[in-house]
Amino acid sequence: MSRPAANPPKLFLRFFRSYCDPKMQGYIEGDLMEAYHRRLEKYGKRKANMQFIIDVLLLFRPGIVKSKTSYHTLNSPDMFKNYFTTGWRNLWRSKLHSTLNIVGLTFGIVCFLLISLYVFDELTFDRHHVNAERIYRVVEHKNVRGEASIIAAAGYKLGEESKHSIPEVENITRITRPGRANLVDPENPVPFQETITVGDEQFLEIFDFPLIEGDRHTALKEPASIIIDEDLAMRIFSSTDVMGKNLQFSHLDFPLKITGILKKHPRNSSFTFNSVMSMSSFYNTDYFKQNMISDWTSGNFSVYALLRQDANADSVSRKMTRLVLSNFKPDEGTKLSYSLQPLKDLHLKSADIVDGARNSNVDSIAQGNPLYITIFSFTAVFVLLIAAINYTNLTTARASGRIKEIGVRKAIGALRSNLIGQFLFESWLTTGIAFVLAIGVVSLVLPPFNQFAGKELSLFAVDYHFWLYALAAIVIIGFLSGSYSALLLSRLKPVSLLKGLKIQSIGDLSVRTGLVIFQFTISIVMIIGTIVLLLQVNYLNNSDLGFNKDLMVVIDVNTGAARSNFEVIKDQMTKVPSVKNVSVTSRVPGEWKSIRTVKLRAEGGTDEDLISYLIGADKDFMKTFEVTLLQGRNFREAYDSSSIIVNETAAKMLNITEASEQTVEIADVSRGGAYSPLDALFKPRVIGIVKDFHFQSLRDKIQPLILAYNNNPIHVIDYYSVRIEPTDIPATLEKLKAIMVKQDVDEPFEYHFLDEQLALFYVEDGRRQTLLGWAAMSTIFIACLGLFGLATYSTEQRIKEIGVRKVLGATAVGLVSLLSRDFLKLVLIANAIAFPISWWATNRWLQEYAYHIDVEWWMFVLAGVLALAIALLTVGYQAIKAAVANPVNSLRSE
C-alpha cells in the first residue's frame, strides 16, 4: 500500500497535540490519521483537510482535553511553604546578590512611591468634593472679529436662570472675587489685607468645603454674613472660637457677622479663598438691583454648576448658550458661546483659560503643568523598571547555581507551571521585602520632600486608590522581574540538568546585554535632562534682564491715600539715607499680575490695530530700574502726561527709528480678556525709545511695551519701587513702613523684594530640576548596582581563565581592560542610543521658553563620560580584584 504524500494541516495537528490528554493522544491521533488518509483517497485533499479540522475541533471537549486536576494538589499550602523556605534560603545563601537586588528594588520603589505621591496629588486636585464628578465650571468663549478669548466667567443671570430653565442643572452657584481690601475686627482695628470672595448661598451646598462650626445650608444665606477659615480667624482674633463676632471690610459701610468657620483647604485644592461673604449682602443695594437684572454676559462671576447624574455636559452647555443668546444680543461680529469644564480638569487643563477674576487685584487660580506630570510619570515607571531589570539580570546570571534544584524538582514531577510559579513567588518575596523597606524609607524622607515640593503628601492619609495602584504596580514589577528567569529556567530539560551538563545558553546573553543597554540609555537620558534643566534654570535666574532687580523693594499700593499722596510719600522715601532711588509705576518689570494691553495705531493711520503692553511710570523709573534710554528723552515733570516712551520692540512695530514726538492713537484697553474702548481717545506723543528689557517672564518673548506717564488715563500707579543700600535692610524697611502708615493708618505695608519675586517665576522649574536630578541619580545608582552584580558574577565565572592568562604572562592592566571592555561597550552603545533621544526631548522642553540656552555637544559628552566613568568604577573594582589575585589560588583546585 503506497502511502499518500499529503499530510493533514500541521497547525491543527499541533493544536490537537497541545490539548489532548497524553494518555489518549497516541490512539486518537492514529484514528485521525487513518480517517484522514481514507478520506484523502476517497474525496481529495481539500475535503480531507476540512474534515480533519472539524474532527480536531470536535475533539476539543472535556473528556479529551487533558485535565489539570491531577496536578493541582501540588499547589497546596505545603508547597507554598516549601517555595518560601527555598526562596528564603536562596536569599540568604548569596548575601551579596540578595543585597544588591533588595537595595536596588527598595531604591526604585522609594523613587516610584515619592513621584507617584506627587503625581497622584496633582491628578486628584479638587476631588475631595463628594459630587466632584458632577461639578462643572462655566467657561465663556468669545470671539470679537477674529479675536478669541476664553474666560472662566459668566454673567449673573446665567447662573440665576439656568437652574430654572435647564432641567439637567441640579444646582448652580456664583462666586466673585472683586479685589482685595482690609479686613478688620472693629473691636481691635488692625488691618489685614485680604482677597474678597463673595459667594451665594448655594456655594457651600455644591462644594463640600468642610465647616468646623456653623451650618453649611444657612451660613451664606443672610445678608452681611461671612465665613472665614481657621487660619484667618487665628490671625485676626488669635482664636477659632469666633462664631457670631463681627468683621468689616474697609470698602463696605456695614459689618459682617461670622456665621461659619472653614477648615483650611487641603493642598490639592484649586480654591484658596480664606473668607467668603454672602452675596445676599448686596441684593438690596441699588447697584445690584439696577445691574444684575440684565447681566447676562458681564463675566464678573465664576459660575459652577452641579449637573444631574445622567446629564451630558455638552448638551447642557449648548442650552446655556441658547439661554444667554435668547436674552442678550451680542454686538455685530461677536460670537459668544459657553462650555462646561469638569471640576477635575481645573488644575491641569486650564492653560488657555483666563481666570474669572482677571480684572481685580487678586491672584488667579494656580495651575499645574501637564507636561511635567507626564515626564514624572514616565520617570517613576522607568526607575521601577530599571530596578526590575537588575533583578532579572542578576537572577538569570546566577541561575547555574540552581540547576540541580530545578532538575530534581522536574524529575519528581514538577510541571513547568509549578517552576514558573516558584520563581515568580521568589521574585514577589524579594519585591515584597523591598516594598516594606521602601515604605519605611519613604516615611522617613517624606517631611523634607514635602517641604521642598511645597506639598502635604502623606503615605497614610492618602486616598486608598493610591495604594491600590501602588500595590498593582509592585505586583506587576515582581512579575516582570521574575518572569524572564522563570520562563528561561523552567524550560530546561531535566535530564541534561541532572547530568550536570554545562548549559551554555543559560541566561541568554543577548537579552541581558539588551537590558543593561536599556538601563544605561535611560540613565544617560536623565543625566542629560538634568544637566540641561540645571543650566536653563541657572540661565533664567542669572540672565541679564535689561534692568537691575537686586536690592529693590516693591511696595503695593493698597489704599487711596497712598495713591493720591504719592508725591509726598516718594519725597519722604527719597530722604531716607539708605534709599537710593524711588519710582512709582502701575506695574513693575517681572510683574506677577496681569499687565494691561492697548490697541494703538499711528495717528490718522488706517492700518490694522497694533497691540502693546502698557505700564504707567514716573520720571524716576529709568534711573531706579537702571533701564537704558537709547533715543530721545525721559519724562519731565507735570506736562508730560501725554508723552510715552516705547521699547525697541514697540518702536520696530510702529516703524519708528527716531523718537520725534510722533503721535499715536490708543482707543481700546484690555485688562486681560476682551478689549473695551476708553472713555476718550488717548493721543500721546513718542518722546523716547528704551532698550528692550524683560518685563515678563523669560518664558515669553519681549513684547512691545509702552511706558506712559504716571497720570495716564489707562492705568494708575499701583507700586512704589525703592532701590535701597545693602546695609541694614530691616531698618530701611521699618522706615519705609513708617512713611506709608503715616499717610494712611489702614495701609498694611505689603512689600516684596523684586529678585525674590522674579525667582518665583522659576521656582517650579527649580523644584522639577531637583526632583529630576534625584531621579537621575537614583536610576544610575540602581543601574550600577546591577552592573556591579553582573561584573562580580562574570569575573567569578572567568576566574580560572584569568589565572591561566596570568600564568602565561598577562599583565594586570591587560586583564582589567579585558574584563571591563565588555561592559564599557554596552555603556557606549547606550550613549549612542541616548544622545538622539535626549537631544530631541530637551529641545522640545526648551521650546517652552522664549529665551533659553542651546543644547550643546559638551552636555552630551559630559553625561556620556559621567556614565562611562561610573560604570568603569563599578566594573573596575571587580576587575582589579581579579587581576591582582594570585593565580595559584584559582588554579590549585584542579
Binding site: 500500500m1 502511502r3 489518549m24 497516541g26 490512539y27 486518537i28 491521533e29 492514529g30 484514528d31 485521525l32 490519521m33 487513518e34 480517517a35 488518509h37 481514507r38 472539524i54 474532527d55 470536535l58 475533539l59 476539543f60 471537549r61 472535556p62 473528556g63 479529551i64
Partner: protein
Amino acid sequence: MKKYQLGEFEEIVILTIGILNNRAYSVSIKDEIESRLKRTVSFGALHTALKRLEEKGYLKAFVGESTEERAGRPRQYFEITAMGKKAMQYAKETRDELWKAIPKTVLQVNLLPQYL
C-alpha cells in the same frame, strides 16, 4: 441510584462493539455505527463515550497493531467486560419491561394520525 448507568449513545457504542467482536477499535466502531444507523459520529463524541465506558468498567482496552496508514500509531481495541455484558442485559430488560407495561391502546392510538 441505578444499578447500571448506560446512556443512549453509550448503549449504541457498546452494542456495536459487541457486533464487531474482537475487531472493535474506534474507526471500525465509527464506520459500523454510521453505516447501520445512518448517523454521523464524530471522533470527539466517540472517544468521550469510549472513555466513559472504560471508566465505568464496561470495556477493557488493549493495544493492537500499528499500521503505516495510522502514521505508526497503534490501534486501541475494545472488548466488553463481564460487567459490561450485565449492563447491556440490564438495559435491554428494563426497556422490555417498559415496553410491556405500555397499554396496547396507547400505542395504537398514538400511531394513528389524529385526524382520522
